[in-house]
C-alpha cells in the first residue's frame, strides 16, 4: 500500500482527534496549546492537497499571530471558573441541526469524489494568466481577477483594529492584553537578535516571491507581523502615544493605495482593476507592498490590542502577577 495513503489517513485522524481534544479539554491552557499544534498539522494537510499558498498563510498566521494572541488573552482568564453546560434541550436541538447539515455536506463530498470532476475555473484562470501581470495563479486571482474581494478583506482588517482599539479603550493596565513587560532574559534576547532580521528578510522574500510562486502580501504581512509581535514581546519596541499617527497611517495605507490604483485605472477607458498589460506587474507589486505593510502593522496592533495612549483608569484590581515580574526592564 502506498505510504502516502497511510500518511494522509493518519494525519486526517490526528486532525479530527486534535479538534476533539481542543474542544473537550477541561484545561484552557491545554486547549490553546493543542489548537496551536492543530494549526501546524492543518498546514501539512494543505500541502498534501496541493495548496502551498494556503499552507503558507496558515503557517504564518497560525504560528506567528494566533498563538501569541491566544496566549496573551489566556493570562486574563486565570482562575475564572468554568460555566455550567448549556441546557439539554438546546444541546439536542443544535446537535440535530448540525447532524443534518453535516449529513447533507457528506453527501456532497462523496458525490464530488466519486463523479468525474468538472474543470472548475482552473482553465479560465490558466487562459487569462498571461494577461494578469503575474505568473502565479493564486496571486493573479487575489490581486487581479478578484481584486475587489481582496480590497474588502483589507478593509475588514482595518475595521477589526478600529473595533479592538475602541473595545480596549480605557482598560486598566492589569487587563491590557500585553500586560506588564517581563524581562525575558539573555536567551530570548539573543534569540530575538538572530530571529528578527531573518524574519524581516523572509517577509520581504515572500512578498516578492508571490509574483511567480506561492507567497504574496498576506503571507509576507503575517511574517512581518510576527516580527512586530516578537519585538514587542522581547521588549525591543514599546508602542507609545506618539506612534499613534504612524500606526493609523500604516493601517490605512494598504486600502488607500488599493483604491487609488483601482480608481486611477478606472478613470481611463478601462474599468477598475483592469490593469493595462504593460503596467500590470508594477501596479500589482505596488498594491501588494502597501497591503503587506498594512497587514503587518494591523496584525501586530491586534496582538498589542490597546491603543497606545496614556491610561486614565486607576488600577483597582488586585495584582495577580508577582511584583518582581512588573516594572519593566532595567
Amino acid at each position: 500500500m502506498d505510504p502516502m495513503v497511510i500518511f494522509d489517513a493518519g494525519l486526517a485522524l490526528a486532525l479530527v482527534a486534535l479538534s476533539w481534544a481542543v474542544l473537550a479539554s477541561a484545561d484552557r491552557f491545554a486547549s490553546v496549546v493543542l489548537f496551536i499544534v492543530l494549526g501546524l498539522m492543518v498546514a501539512l494537510a494543505w500541502v498534501r492537497l496541493g495548496a502551498p499558498d494556503v499552507a503558507l498563510a496558515e503557517a504564518a498566521i497560525g504560528a506567528g499571530v494566533t498563538g501569541a494572541l491566544l496566549l496573551a488573552t489566556l493570562r486574563h482568564l486565570r482562575g475564572q471558573p468554568e460555566a455550567p453546560p448549556s441546557p439539554a434541550p438546546v444541546r439536542w436541538a443544535v446537535g440535530g441541526m448540525v447532524a443534518a447539515v453535516t449529513a447533507a455536506l457528506a453527501a456532497v463530498v462523496v458525490a464530488l469524489v466519486a463523479a468525474p470532476r468538472p474543470e472548475g475555473l482552473a482553465g479560465a484562470v490558466a487562459d487569462n494568466l498571461a494577461m494578469s501581470g503575474v505568473e502565479h495563479p493564486v496571486t493573479a486571482v487575489l490581486l487581479n481577477f478578484r481584486a475587489h474581494d481582496t480590497l474588502m478583506e483589507v478593509v475588514v482588517l482595518l475595521v477589526a483594529v478600529v473595533v479592538v482599539w475602541a473595545i480596549d479603550r480605557g482598560l486598566a493596565p492589569a487587563h491590557a492584553p500585553q500586560g506588564p513587560l517581563v524581562d525575558l532574559g539573555p536567551v530570548q534576547d539573543g534569540f530575538a537578535r538572530l530571529a528578527l532580521p531573518a524574519a524581516v528578510l523572509l517577509g520581504a522574500y515572500l512578498l516578492w516571491a508571490g509574483a511567480h510562486a506561492p507567497g504574496g502580501a498576506f503571507q509576507g504581512g503575517a511574517v512581518l507581523a510576527a516580527v512586530g509581535i516578537l519585538a514587542i514581546l522581547a521588549g525591543r519596541w514599546r508602542p507609545e502615544p506618539r506612534h499613534r499617527a504612524w500606526a493609523r497611517a500604516a493601517f490605512g495605507l494598504g486600502a488607500t493605495v488599493f483604491v487609488l490604483v483601482a480608481l486611477g485605472v478606472g478613470l481611463g477607458p478601462r474599468v477598475a482593476y483592469e490593469y493595462p498589460l504593460t503596467l500590470a506587474k508594477p501596479l500589482i507589486l505596488t498594491i501588494e507592498a502597501a497591503v503587506t505593510l498594512s497587514i503587518a502593522a494591523t496584525l501586530a496592533a491586534l496582538f498589542f490590542g490597546r491603543e497606545p495612549a496614556g491610561l486614565t483608569v486607576p488600577n483597582t484590581v488586585p495584582n495577580t502577577v508577582p511584583s518582581t515580574a512588573r516594572g519593566g526592564r532595567p
Binding site: D2, P3, M4, F7, G10, L11, A14, A21, S25, D27, F29, A30, V33, L34, I36, V37, L40, A43, L44, V47, R48, P52, A55, L56, A59, A60, A63, G64, G67, A68, L71, A72, L74, R78, G179, V182, L184, F191, A192, A195, A198, A199, L202, L206, A209, H212, A213, P214, G215, Q219, V223, A226, I229, L230, L233, A234, V321, P322, T324, A325
Partner: protein, 110 residues
C-alpha cells in the same frame, strides 16, 4: 529564482541519496508522523504548562522535517518556503508563553 533552484544540489547529496525513492520518503514521513502523535501524549497529559508548550514547540521542528521531505518527494520548491516560514516563526508562541507566564510562572499552573 526560488529556493527550488537549490533542490538539485540536495538531490545529489550523499546524505539524501539513500532514501530518494518516493516509497522511502513516504516511510520516513510516516515515522515522523508517528513521532508527532507520540508527542501529542505529552501535550494532552501535561502535567505542567511548560511541558505542554515545549512538546508543541517540538512539533514545529517535526513539521519542518515533514515539509522538507514532502518538498523532496514532489520536487516542489515552494514547500521549502513553507518549511522556512514554520522554522522561523515556530518559536513565537513559546516567547509569548514565557512573556505571559512570567518568571517561574509556567510551573504551578496547569
Amino acid at each position: 529564482m526560488t529556493l527550488a533552484d537549490l533542490l538539485p544540489r540536495f538531490d545529489g547529496g550523499p546524505l539524501l541519496s539513500v532514501p530518494s525513492t518516493a516509497a522511502g520518503l513516504g516511510l520516513l514521513m510516516l515515522v515522523l508522523l508517528a513521532t508527532l502523535l507520540a508527542g501529542l501524549w505529552r501535550v494532552l497529559r501535561g502535567p505542567s504548562a511548560a511541558d505542554r508548550m515545549l512538546a508543541a514547540q517540538l512539533f514545529g521542528t517535526t513539521g519542518v522535517a515533514i515539509l522538507v521531505l514532502l518538498a523532496l518527494a514532489s520536487g516542489s520548491g515552494p514547500l521549502l518556503d513553507v518549511a522556512l516560514t514554520l522554522a522561523v516563526l515556530a518559536a513565537v508562541s513559546v516567547v509569548a508563553f514565557v512573556a505571559s507566564a512570567g518568571p517561574g510562572g509556567g510551573r504551578g499552573q496547569s
